[in-house]
Amino acid sequence: MPAVSKGDGMRGLAVFISDIRNCKSKEAEIKRINKELANIRSKFKGDKALDGYSKKKYVCKLLFIFLLGHDIDFGHMEAVNLLSSNKYTEKQIGYLFISVLVNSNSELIRLINNAIKNDLSSRNPTFMCLALHCIANVGSREMAEAFAGEIPRILVAGDTMDSVKQSAALCLLRLYKTSPDLVLMGEWTSRVVHLLNDQHMGVVTAAISLITCLSQKNPDEFKTCVSLAVSRLSRIVSSASTDLQDYTYYFVPAPWLSCKLLRLLQCYPPPEDGAVKGRLVECLETILNKAQEPPKSKKVQHSNAKNAILFEAISLIIHYDSEPNLLVRACNQLGQFLQHRETNLRYLALESMCTLASSEFSHEAVKTHIETVINALKTERDVSVRQRAADLLYAMCDRSNAKQIVAEMLSYLETADYSIREEMVLKVAILAEKYAVDYSWYVDTILNLIRIAGDYVSEEVWYRVIQIVINRDDVQGYAAKTVFEALQAPACHENMVKVGGYILGEFGNLIAGDPRSSPLVQFNLLHSKFHLCSVPTRALLLSAYIKFINLFPETKSTIQEVLRSDSQIRNSDVELQQRAVEYLKLSSIASTDVLATVLEEMPPFPERESSILAKLKKKKGPGAVSVNELEEGKREGGELNGGGGERGGDNSTIAASNASTPSPSADLLGLRTGPQVSAAPPSAGSLLVDVFSEAGVNDDGFLSSAPPSAVSEDAAPPLPESNELLNKFVCKNNGVLFENQLLQIGIKSEYRQNLGRMYLFYGNKTSVQFVTFTTTVSCPGELQSQLNVQAKPVEPLIEGGAQVQQVINIECLGDFCEAPLLNIKFRYGGALQNLSLKLPVTINKFFQPTEMASHDFFQRWKQLSQPQQEAQKIFKASHAMDTEVIKAKLLGLGMALLENVDPNPENFVCAGVIQTKAQQVGSLLRLEPNAQAQMYRLTLRSSKDTVSKRLCELLAEQF
């Protein structure tokens, strides 16, 4: 009997898997999986005790289902029970389930910890390894608390088996990474370093990862590892490959360990002890020499392993940056790789050379490879490699080769992959600025950049060229001439029009002497582009026109006529209309003197860090642009601007200087680089100030899209059930948001127009106080620009049984789909609790109900007939279909429930307007219940497609 059932069991697994694989559609697959889940659930729940074999089978099935991306919400208890089995098979499958499916904040951790504790003290190496694996894979705080003391003991105990030592080393590393405060340094630390001398290479392999990590954090305590690592490395490098037997990989002795040893040495400066240093240099030379020897095997694995060591050796040489001889050899070696037929080696060589280029000893040597690198940029088939080539060109650029490199990068831009264009544009702009000796070259380069890749030229780039032109007298005439010529092109990029408008408005007079570019010609040229441009550009052009009136009185009547035309003075855009009206008035009533004062040339910009460099830094993430480079950028930038003034001044200085300039029109063209400027106090009393505030909002858009990664860094990910919790509050404003054994969170909220206020009540359900209680509310991603959420601070201490309140103010700026995140952290009896929830702020909260008659409703319904304006869902009722309950929910939604509108009295129709700061979005709803089928059809139409979609999603969960 058992034999049959076991055979069937395995066949059961096989049949299930092939069933799934034969499913023709996703629906069929889900159906089959649900059937299986129900089956397993009933087996687990059943009275009959399952034997180990069936348990294993069911767990395997669950793992397979999980791998396909389906949630597994049961079986955890069964897995925990398996841990305490005495049979290896059962224990092992239990641990497997847990390491794949249990996450660190599971409630089960305590039970799991018990089982682990038993296994660790079992003296059975297999069981110990399973337990250590489990700790390393889950790595939770509770586990660290339970085992951080025990594991170092296992690691350094004399009688521990090698395989257990290996696991213990990596287990300890994991705990140190997740909870460094719990892993206390002690007597074991000195003994850990000596594991580098262990006979068993596997132990060394595992230990070195631990030692590297510990050395990075406490370099002084682990300094002794340097000499040990050098001697170990030397033994590997110099020995014949046969000595290491199994750790020889395709004729290369212990390549992995060699790499790791070289990495460890990169945590420290060159050894001070002459003997150690001599030995190390010898090793590095041997490694470089070996690269020149004929390969011992033609297999790619052989060269891979050999080169892995070589690249690490080169990294170490670059890190030391003190041995000119080795640096040059390294550079030559990389030069060889640049032309290697293996793409991987070309890629890595380009990458390593990038770091080499910053060393003063080898910068010149790197530069000799410029032709090869340019060639790589042009001919490599692989975009990853081309990107590295571009990085290297950027890194090797200096005054001597800047013109060549910038020219090559510009010509590459014409065909570059879209994914790297923006970064390339920034790099070209930075190089052009940094190494500009004559400014006409700089202006040419930036205008070319706009011509070639206008779409990828960010505002920072064209702001910067204007700043530089304004600050340098000697380039202004050339800039005006060049931009005038560039604008002659029949189709030119809008960014070109912006630069052109600004520069001609300031310096058009410098080229007005030439009849080919007389004032009227200039004006007509600019105005011919006007109608093709977006509103902010048009606004800029209007400002240029008023400047023209000051520069060239003869154009006054022409320009006044333009300003007076209906398309300007009655423009539907408020900003344009206001400018037209104000400029027209200004030009007709102000005397020439007043006009000249108001519209005088822009004062020079104060010196500060190049905004494009800042942008590149942000794009690449901190650390991508070295500090060195930044400082250099500042220094060079200062030179370029004829600076010498305050360096690296923050953005607020510019605002202050603008505000204090005597000219009331200082901010006429609203030129700015940092978005902070828009928040600066406007210099009151001038009608012209702040005319560009609209554009300022756009600036913020970029900034706000960047930070979410930083926000989520140490906050726990939102609870899996947080979406459900969110749905609970779509149709109501008050209730209990969340509750566990420790904490209860209640909510009261009210909304008016586009504003809302939410009261959160945090209740401590225990008798122990919560300390360092902090909450943060964040808006991830796009939401940051759509919702303004301000949370008042909350008491850091909650006594047992007490409740504290927090007020959150919410402003809806634009329509949105996501919900803000609420992260709560506090300590309860020493343990840090960290949980994240979604705040139930949904778009429907900003509804204003709108009453209307049947006729109006259907007329509007028809007006919103574009396909994307409608969202529809047909779904099964998940609650009883009670008319009164449905009505109450629809009212809770915030729309007006319209009676006697739909010809079918069973149906519900609603109307409302969503109030956001930016706009109002009218929405209509129709809900058609079908009591017989227990189904609903829900249709939403609104003037914005995203709103229809979001409302439909939210509501489909409610009935």
């Binding site: 034999a3 076991k6 055979g7 069991g9 395995m10 066949r11 697994l13 096989a14 898997i17 694989r21 793992l63 397979f64 991306g69 049979k87 098979t89 996450n103 297999t126 694996h133 395989s163 290996q166 696991s167 990596l170 590393l173 994991r174 290479m201 596997g202 392999t205 595992a206 990862s209 199994d246 750790y247 992995w256 470089l288 004929p294 390969p295 033609k298 297999k299 790619v300 694995q301 060269s303 891979n304 392993a305 080169n307 690249f311 050899r329 030559n332 060889q336 037929r341 293996e342 793409t343 991987n344 890629y347 890595l348 088939r381 692989d382 990853s384 993430g621 991508a624 990910p717 939102p718």
Partner: protein, 193 residues
């Protein structure tokens, strides 16, 4: 550190996923999809490294992959790992699978997920490399099988099941991953002067 190890086939069906950092289940699935998308659109014979997708940490992380017949083996690692070293590690992993399953094929990974996980656990633990020596790994894996067999009592049952699986009517699939001799000739480098 190794952030994740993913195996999926040419159609993007995951065959093994092991994450060494915590992500929600949804994110894990998205990462698998994103990674498949990034890797599968690349030609053969381009380099084996690329910048990681946004979900798994963007350009701070690298994807290092190898493509064997129907399967992609992808390791997502941070900057502390040697690219070529990881490439070797993938090779060790695949060669080990090949030895343990005798000509490993995609089906072996599907039907013996537990075993594949166990072999991987002998190599990588908590995102760090535990052991690179193939014979050591195989010895451990064999010891485990032996224990399983002795506990199962009737040793024949699992084997029978395996043959049942292998004889089943499944969609055609190359029998062999063919870790092959990717024998690219390394030219003799000019001697260093």
């Amino acid at each position: 550190m190794i952030k994740a190890i993913l195996i999926f086939n040419n159609h993007g069906k995951p065959r093994l996923s092991k994450f060494y950092e915590h992500y929600t289940e949804d994110t894990e699935q998205q990462i698998i999809r994103e990674t498949f998308h990034l890797v599968s659109k690349r030609d053969e014979n381009v380099c084996n490294f690329l910048e990681g997708g946004l979900l798994i940490g963007g350009s701070d992380n690298k994807l290092i992959y190898r493509h064997y017949a129907t399967l992609y083996f992808v390791f997502c690692v941070d900057s502390s790992e040697s690219e070529l070293g990881i490439l070797d590690l993938i090779q060790v992993f695949v060669e080990t699978l090949d030895k343990c399953f005798e000509n490993v094929c995609e089906l072996d990974l599907i039907f013996h997920m537990d075993k594949v996980h166990n072999i991987l656990a002998e190599m990588v633990m908590g995102g760090m490399v535990l052991e690179t020596n193939m014979s050591e790994i195989i010895t451990q894996a064999e010891a485990q099988s032996k224990m399983e067999k002795s506990e199962a009592g009737i040793a024949g049952a699992p084997a029978r099941a395996v043959s049942a699986v292998k004889n089943m009517n499944l969609p055609e699939m190359p029998k062999n991953i063919n870790i092959g001799d990717i024998s690219i000739k390394v030219p003799n480098l000019p001697s260093f002067k």
